[in-house]
C-alpha cells in the first residue's frame, strides 16, 4: 500500500499515539512510525505538516538541552575545577574552570561566581544522557546582574520570541523592559517598575495559554497596551 494519506489538519491538537499520516513521509520532530508504517505523534502538541515532513510541536515538556542553545542557569555548586549549573532540566550543566595556559585566553573575571548567581550560558556539548558542557566565554555571556527571572514552559519559548523576534520586540517595547530569553524557559527581565513587570508576567501567561490560536501577536500587543494604559 503506497498511498500517502494525511490524517490530521495542520496545527490540529493531537495526543500521543494519534495517527498523523500514512505512507511516504519524512519523520520530523516528536513523531514515530509504528510497525504498520503509520506515523504517530509522540507528544501532546500541534500537528505540523510541511510538504513531506510530519512533525509535532509539543505544547509542554521539560527542557532537553541542545548544542548551541542559550540558557539561563543558576550556579548550584562550585568545586575547585568546575561550576555546576542548574538549567531547569533533568541534566545539570558543567562549566570547567580554566587552569594554566587556558586562563590567558579567557576573561577570568567571569569565573568569579558565587552560589545562586544567575548566568547566561551557551550549551557547548551534550552527550544526551549525562555530560552537559556549558560555556560563558563568549561576548555577552556570564553573570547577569540586577533584574528578575521569570519562567515559561520551555515548549513555548519559540512563541515568546516569535518569527524574526516579532513577539519579543512587542514585549520589550510595550513594557519598556530589557528581556533575554533562554531556550530553557527562563527569562531575564529588567523593567522600569513593578507595574511593567506584572504586565509582562501576565502577557507571558497569555502566550502560554493561547499559543495554539493564531493572531497571538496582535492580542498580546493590545493586551499590553490596555494593561499599561493608565
Amino acid at each position: 500500500m503506497s498511498e500517502s494519506v494525511i490524517l490530521v489538519k495542520n496545527r490540529e491538537v493531537v495526543v500521543p499515539g494519534q495517527p498523523l499520516a500514512k505512507g511516504r513521509f519524512k519523520l520530523g520532530k516528536d513523531v514515530y512510525r509504528d510497525d504498520s508504517g503509520v506515523i504517530r505523534a509522540k507528544k501532546l502538541g500541534l500537528a505540523d505538516i510541511k510538504e513531506d515532513t510530519v512533525s509535532v510541536v509539543p505544547l509542554s515538556g521539560v527542557y532537553i538541552p541542545k548544542e548551541g542553545d542559550i540558557v539561563i542557569g543558576i550556579v548550584s555548586r562550585i568545586s575547585g575545577s568546575t561550576i555546576i549549573v542548574d538549567i531547569r532540566s533533568p541534566y545539570q550543566g558543567v562549566i570547567p574552570i580554566p587552569r594554566g595556559r587556558a586562563t590567558e585566553r579567557v576573561d577570568m573575571r567571569k569565573y568569579n561566581l558565587k552560589l545562586g548567581d544567575v548566568i547566561l550560558a551557551k550549551v557547548k556539548a551534550f552527550d544526551g544522557s549525562s555530560s552537559l558542557l556549558l560555556t560563558i566565554d563568549m561576548e555577552g555571556l556570564g553573570k547577569l546582574e540586577g533584574g528578575y527571572i521569570l519562567e515559561v514552559e520551555p515548549a513555548k519559548v519559540p512563541r515568546v520570541i516569535g518569527k524574526r523576534q516579532s513577539m519579543l520586540t512587542i514585549l520589550k517595547e510595550k513594557t519598556k523592559s530589557d528581556i533575554i530569553v533562554g531556550n530553557n524557559g527562563r527569562i531575564w527581565v529588567r523593567s522600569p517598575s513593578l507595574k511593567e513587570l506584572l504586565a509582562l508576567e501576565k502577557a507571558l501567561r497569555k502566550i502560554e495559554a493561547e499559543s495554539h490560536v493564531s493572531g497571538l501577536s496582535d492580542r498580546v500587543s493590545s493586551f499590553l497596551t490596555q494593561e499599561l494604559s493608565d
Binding site: I74, S76, D86, G116, D117, G147, Y148, I149, L194, L198
Partner: protein, 268 residues
C-alpha cells in the same frame, strides 16, 4: 519555608528585597493583603467534613473523619482530636514520599495548636461515656500544591471541614453494645482561631507569603487569633524578631481576622 531544599537564585533575593524597600511585593499585593481564597465546590472524599481550598496557587484538602474509642487517660472527660499533615510529593518538586518529616509534623502541630488553644472544638461534647468511650476526630491535612503559606491555608480548610462535619451518632445500649445510629450531629465549633503567617524581609513584615517570599525571607512567624482578638498560639519559625515586630504582627493579624473569618463562615 524549607530553606535548604530549594535552590534560590541571588536575583530573586535582591529583587524581592528591593521591591519591599519600595513598599511592593513581586505579585503586586500590599504587605497585609491575602491572596484570593477559593473554596472548591463539591465532595471529594469520604470524610465526615471536608474542604478543598486554594490560597493563590497553594491548594490543600482537609478531611475530618470520626471514630469512637477510649479517651486519653489524663483527660477522661474530653474527646480526642488527632491532627496529621501529609506534604504530598505531588505538591512540590521538593517533597519526597515517606513518613511526615519535621516540616510536616510542625505544620500539623501548629494548626492543631490553634484549634486546641482556642478551645474551638468543644471537646467535652465529644464524650459518650466519660472515661470509657469518646468520639475521636481525625483531622487529615493533605497538601496538594505548594506555593507558600501552608499553615494559614490548612487552618482555614480545617476550620471549614470541622464546621461542616456531620458525624453519625453513637449510643451505648443497656447491655453495653455500641450502636451507630442514622442520625448525624454537627461538631460544635465555638471559635475560629485563624493562623496568620508573616515573613520578615529587610525590616518589613509581609502577610501570607508566596513561595518565593518564604524562600528569601529572613524570618517567619505564625500567630493564631481567636474571635475575641486574643493571641492564642504562636510559632516562630526561622530567624529572629524584635518584640515590637511581633506585637505589630499581632495587631495586623487581629485586624485581618474578620475578613478571613467571614470566608470561613460562608463556606460552612
Amino acid at each position: 519555608m524549607f530553606e535548604s531544599e530549594m535552590l534560590t537564585h541571588n536575583l530573586l533575593k535582591e529583587y524581592v528585597k528591593d521591591l519591599v524597600s519600595k513598599g511592593q511585593r513581586i505579585d503586586g499585593r500590599g504587605f497585609q493583603e491575602y491572596r484570593p481564597i477559593e473554596v472548591r465546590e463539591g465532595t471529594f472524599t469520604k470524610a465526615e467534613g471536608e474542604a478543598w481550598i486554594k490560597l493563590g496557587n497553594t491548594q490543600v484538602l482537609v478531611g475530618v473523619k470520626a471514630d469512637v474509642g477510649e479517651p486519653f487517660p489524663d483527660t477522661p472527660d474530653k474527646g480526642v482530636l488527632v491532627s496529621n499533615t501529609e506534604l504530598l510529593p505531588l505538591a512540590s518538586p521538593t517533597f519526597e514520599p515517606g513518613p511526615p518529616n519535621e516540616n510536616a509534623i510542625e505544620v500539623a502541630r501548629v494548626v492543631d495548636r490553634a484549634i486546641r488553644s482556642a478551645d474551638a472544638v468543644d471537646m467535652s461534647s465529644l464524650v459518650i461515656i466519660e472515661g470509657k468511650l469518646v468520639y475521636m476526630l481525625f483531622l487529615d491535612m493533605y497538601v496538594l500544591d505548594y506555593d507558600g503559606n501552608l499553615e494559614d491555608a490548612l487552618t482555614v480548610a480545617s476550620l471549614i471541614a470541622l464546621g461542616r462535619a456531620e458525624i453519625p451518632k453513637v449510643e451505648v445500649k443497656d447491655d453495653g453494645e455500641i450502636e451507630v445510629k442514622e442520625e448525624k450531629w454537627k461538631v460544635n465549633l465555638k471559635d475560629l482561631p485563624i493562623n496568620f503567617t508573616f515573613v520578615k524581609i529587610g525590616d518589613q513584615l509581609l502577610l501570607d507569603p508566596v513561595l518565593e517570599e518564604e524562600q528569601v525571607s529572613d524570618a517567619a512567624i505564625t500567630l493564631a487569633i481567636d474571635k475575641e482578638g486574643r493571641v492564642c498560639s504562636i510559632q516562630k519559625k526561622h530567624g529572629k524578631f524584635t518584640m515590637e515586630e511581633i506585637l505589630n504582627a499581632a495587631t495586623i493579624a487581629r485586624s485581618k481576622w474578620p475578613e478571613i473569618a467571614e470566608k470561613i463562615r460562608e463556606a460552612i
